[in-house]
Structure formats: C-alpha cells, structure tokens
C-alpha cells in the first residue's frame, strides 16, 4: 500500500466524517461506492470538491473516466499522481 493511498483513506474518512471507519477498514482495491465501502452520490460530490481543494486536481463531471478514477482508493491515487505528474 502506498503512502498516498493511506493518506487518501484518512482524507476520505475525515472529509466525509465517516464514524466507525478506520484507515485499515478500507481496502485499497475495494469499490468505494455502492457494494464496497457503500459511499453514495452525495459522498461523491463532497469528496470531489474536497479533492480539488486539497490536491489541486481538476475533476470534470462530464469526463467519462471520472467513474473509473473514483472506483477505488487505488484508482484515485493513480489519478492524482497522473494529474500532478502532468
């Protein structure tokens, strides 16, 4: 697990005020939405705004790939690294 992934997990927990969830409860490859962690569209919205603020990444809601980027912590980490690298 990369340190960015751990950082993202803590960030998700803090941003969404997820009571009862610890960093170690979230699997990096686990789906963040619906069947996995169980986040929903409202969480996605809040998370999107917070990510743009903290990591200075552009999230375009019309982008077909947004769904993929947000699918798991792993994907989110890759997305952020790619955005920063570019």
């Amino acid at each position: 697990m990369t340190s960015l992934e751990t950082e993202l997990k803590a960030f998700i927990i803090e941003t969404l005020n997820l009571e009862d969830v610890q960093v170690e409860d979230i699997d990096s490859a686990e789906a963040l939405f619906v069947d996995g962690l169980g986040l929903d569209s409202i969480d996605a919205l809040e998370l999107g705004v917070a990510l743009q603020k903290k990591y200075d990444v552009r999230i375009d809601a019309k982008d077909e790939n947004v769904k993929t980027h947000f699918a798991s912590v792993q994907n989110l980490a890759k997305f952020i690294q790619a955005e920063k690298g570019s």
Binding site: E19, D20, V21, D25, D40, S41
Partner: protein, 569 residues
C-alpha cells in the same frame, strides 16, 4: 376561591374517602390533618421542591406548600444530577422520607384547629414544572391552581357523567407531571372521587385491582404495553391517555382488551388540555375542549385560546393543523419537525415514515444532532433481519445501505449522514423521546462507548447490559488478533456510567480492591453493576457476563463534586 381547598376543608366532606391503598381507605379528614401539620412547619414565601413516590404524601406536601404561602417546584425525576441542575430554583426539598419525618415531629398543640380561614387564593398557588427545552436544559413552566381548576371545570362535564358512584381513579402515570397532577391529585378532591395512593406503573398491578367503572389515567407508552390477548378483564368507564399521540393499532388493541376506546387528550405542560378524541380510524379528528377557541397562524400552526391556557390571550403552538368547519381538527406534525438543510425544507416525519417502511427497520427518529448541522442524523431500532445485516456490515456500511434505500423517496438533502442503532429509542418516564437524549447518542464522535441495551436502577445501585463490538476504538491494537477490553477502560466506563446514573463526579482519585479475574472480549455481553455511596463518595463496580461469571470488580473513590467541577473549569 379554590374548589380544591374548600372541598378539603368542608366539614361535610371530612369522612369522604380520598385515597385507597390495598384494602385500606384514607378519608379527607386524615389528609387534611396532615396538610395542617406540615404547612405549620413550612416557611412562607419560599420555593419548595417536592418529589414523592406516594401520591398521598405528594398531595399533602403540595397543599401544605400552597397553604403556607410558598411555591411548589415539581421536578420530573429525583436523579441527583437533575436536582443539581435545577437546584438554584428551590430553597428546600421534600421527599417521602422527609415528609413522614416532619409529620412525625409535628406539635399537635401548635396546630391551628380552625382551618376554615386558611383557604389560599387559587391564583397565587403556583406549581413549577420543567420540560426539556431544545437544548435539553430543563425549562421552568409555571401553572397556577386557578388554571388547573379552570381546566378541570372544563373537562368535568365530559368525563364526570361517565363515572358512577364509587368509581375509582387508578393512575399509571406519575403525579409529578401536569397531566398526572390534574387527574390523580386535584380532580379527585374537586370531584369527590377516590384515587390510588400510589401510581401503579405496571399492568399486572392495575389489572389485579381494576373494577368495572373505574377511570384509568395512562399514557400511550403504557397502553402499548398492555397484553393484547387479555380476556375477562374488568371494563373501566374511561381510559385517559395523554403525553403524546396514540397509534391507531394500539387504540384498537386496547378497545378490544378493555372494552372501551381510550380517550386521548391533546395538550402540553404549557397549554394544559386543548382537545380530545376517541380514535376509531386514522382520520378521527380532535374535538376542542368546551369553550376553547382554535385557529391557525399564517404557517398553518394551531393557536388556541381558553381561560385555563393563557386567559384572554392566544397561545401559539408549533403543531401544524387543518381545522374542519365543525371546529374539529387534524394534526399534521410539528412545525419544528421540518428542518432546513442546504436551503431545502426537509420533513423529519416523512423521513421517519420512509425509514419505517424498510424491512430492516422497526422504528426510527430523524433529527439534527446539533442545532446548525447541515446533515440529518438517525437513531434506529432494527428488526431481526436488520440486526443480522448490521452484524455483517458494521455500522457505517449499514447506514449507507439504508441511505440508498431512502434515496428512492427522498431528496439528497434529506439523506442522513450519521446513524445510531439501538435496542430501544431512549424515552423519559412519560414515554416521550426528548431531543437531548437522542442527541446524546451522537455526542461521542469515536466508537468509544458500548451500547447500553438494558438498564435497571434501584436507589443507589444500577445494573446495565453492555453490548460491545469488535470495531470499538478500545479494542484497536489491544491486542492484534486477540482483542480484550483494557482494564483502564473498564474503570473509565464505571466512573462514566456511574456519573450518568447518579450524577456523581467523573473524577476518580483513588482505586482500591481492584480485581481482574477474566478478560472481556468483544463477543461478551456484559452486565455492569454499580453501587454509589454518596457519603464518601465512591462507586463499587462489577463486570459480569452470562452465568454470573465475574470479569472484574473494584472500588473507585471519587473527588467530591465541587472540587471536581473546579478542576474541569
């Protein structure tokens, strides 16, 4: 002029029975003598709080306080913490033991035997009740005996004719609240009826004594507990229910079991009775009490005017209503049960109704956990199926599952963020669900405290069942793969739960007789017993599980309250 006091004083009434206690009957004369004795020992112009188990002693104290020219403070409970909270509001406190002691000390000779000139003015006899304000802090509400007598005069023509000679009043509700006080204490004297000397909070007590034609004074929470398959029960003449709305299925069950449909009285401590109904279907409207005027403000909230409510002034309620042409009305939920989230109006009642439709949820309350929260919180009781789902998913994922379900009906703004799953919704002694108790469930942000699934308290000892779960913060890393409850947490919980039960200090200054016999694991269902000795002060605690297995025990010496508070500040 007070009908209550003149009836107590009237020579012709002295042999009239006023209380019954088992087979014993106590007449007006005996009560009147005790009132005279007690009032001769009380100071005029003071504020005296009264909390009694016995309704007879309560009536004696209340009448004595009024006759001595003082005001009565009526706390809703006698929990030490609660009395401390309202402590600035009174000068001295009377409970059963103190009243018996004072009556025993009374000097018969000093008693003024001619009591006829000692009828106080009903308008100057004040009783101060406390309701929980939105912050949970007790809010004082003053009622005068004149208002109470006016209300009884309004209601007597409705229920009086149903009660035949010899009908008795059996109260399940406490006399410490306005409703119990009206029907169990003042009404019996005004209408010359005999009333049970103590409340009978349990149905088996009630049913063993109930006779045809009696009057029952109950609440919706109590009616809900009536056994549905009751047969051959005596038929009361009237079953009063107040303190909250009665649900239709319960109204039907009670009608079947006791042969009479409960008469609900709608009102509040502030207003007294406003309207009544016997619920036969879901559209049964409320009928205003005789002489009461009802109207709506521009927000559609009911306002009422009656002598016993606010004299010539209108009283504005927060209850939304629709008034029919015949003046009867239906209630549409409280206006404060609509909250604004992200600028959108969200009906908490609607959210709760939708949650209850889920096969996972038995009952639920939606709320804002803090005044300015921008997301809803929910306290829910799960069905067996829901419980199984919770065990599988954990609290957070369970909340999200329910939220997805709710998203079918509700706008995003109404979807709850925080969830608490409990065995039963927290209620006070009147069966109400005060906001501050619900909010307290959200006060701890971490998963730090166990769920209290049952609690019984007897004087200075309390026994509570605690449910733990492996997700709790205290099991993290203690120890990896082999979670056991740390000893220091056991001490902390004993002090914390002791403080919430007894209002004792949370500051421990000495630990002694500490024994750890057997580790506590997340799977254990634990009984925590705490005994409080306020004279030291100290708490003795024991953690046990099924089969009376002792896990640990010890004694916590506490810092006296005032020092502890300085420390906190």
């Amino acid at each position: 002029m007070s009908v209550f006091f003149s009836n107590l004083n009237a020579p012709t009434n002295q042999e009239t029975p006023l209380f019954f206690e088992n087979e014993k009957v106590i007449d007006v004369a005996r009560v009147q003598t005790d009132i005279g004795k007690l009032s001769s020992m009380l100071d005029a112009g003071s504020r005296i709080s009264i909390y009694c188990q016995s309704t007879r002693l309560f009536m004696i104290a209340l009448a004595a306080v009024w006759r001595s020219g003082s005001s009565a403070i009526l706390p809703a409970t006698d929990r030490a913490g609660y009395l401390d909270e309202i402590g600035q509001q009174f000068d001295c406190h009377l409970d059963d033991a103190r009243i018996i002691e004072l009556l025993g000390n009374a000097d018969e000779n000093a008693l003024n035997h001619d009591q006829s000139d000692q009828i106080p003015d009903a308008a100057s006899c004040a009783a101060i009740f406390f309701t929980s304000g939105s912050s949970g802090a007790p809010k004082p509400i003053t009622k005068t005996l004149a208002q109470i007598e006016d209300e009884i005069a309004t209601q007597s023509p409705l229920w009086g004719p149903l009660l035949k000679e010899g009908a008795r009043i059996i109260g399940l509700v406490s006399h410490q609240h306005i409703y119990g006080l009206i029907f169990r204490v003042i009404w019996p004297v005004m209408n010359r009826q005999i009333t049970r000397a103590e409340p009978a909070p349990f149905w088996d007590m009630v049913l063993s004594e109930l006779r045809d034609g009696d009057m029952l004074v109950t609440s919706p929470a109590q009616l809900k507990n009536l056994h549905p398959d009751l047969i051959h029960a005596p038929r009361p003449a009237i079953i009063l229910s107040s303190g909250g709305p009665l649900d239709l299925p319960t109204a039907k069950t009670v009608t079947k079991a006791l042969g009479v449909c409960p008469t609900e009285i709608y009102g509040s401590t502030e207003t007294g009775g406003i309207a009544w109904r016997q619920q036969h279907d879901e559209n049964t409207p409320w009928k205003p009490l005789p002489g009461l005027e009802a109207g709506l403000n521009e927000d559609g909230c009911l306002r009422v005017r009656a002598r016993h409510v606010a004299g010539d002034d209108w009283y504005q309620t927060q209850d939304r209503a629709i008034i029919h042409t015949d003046d009867s009305f239906v209630l549409k939920g409280r206006a404060d049960r609509v909250v604004k989230i992200e600028g959108k109006r969200v009906s908490l009642v609607a959210v709760e109704e939708h949650l209850r439709q889920s096969e996972l949820i038995e009952d639920a309350v939606a709320l804002l956990a803090q005044d300015n929260d921008q997301r809803l919180a929910v306290v829910a009781v799960l069905t067996l199926k829901g419980q199984a789902e919770l065990d599988k998913r954990g609290r957070f994922r369970m909340g999200r599952l329910l939220r997805r379900d709710l998203a079918r009906f509700e706008d995003d703004a109404a979807l709850p963020q925080r969830w608490r799953f409990v065995e039963a919704l927290p209620t006070d002694s009147q069966g109400k669900k005060p906001l501050h108790l619900l909010r307290a469930l959200f006060a701890d942000t971490g998963n730090e405290l166990p769920t209290v699934s049952a609690q019984t308290r007897d004087g200075n000892s309390v026994s509570m069942t605690l449910k733990l779960n492996a997700d709790m913060t205290c099991f993290k890393g203690h120890f990896p793969g082999q979670p056991i409850l740390p000893g220091v947490i056991q001490l902390h919980w004993a002090a914390l739960f002791g403080a919430s039960a007894f209002g004792s200090s949370r500051k421990v200054c000495e630990v002694s007789q500490l024994k750890f016999r057997k580790p506590i694991t997340p799977a254990d269902i634990i009984t925590l017993e705490i005994e409080y000795d306020p004279s030291v002060p100290r708490l003795k605690f024991r953690y046990q599980s099924d089969g009376a297995d002792l896990h640990s025990s010890g004694t916590l010496k506490l810092q006296p309250q005032d020092i502890a508070q300085d420390d906190v500040a």
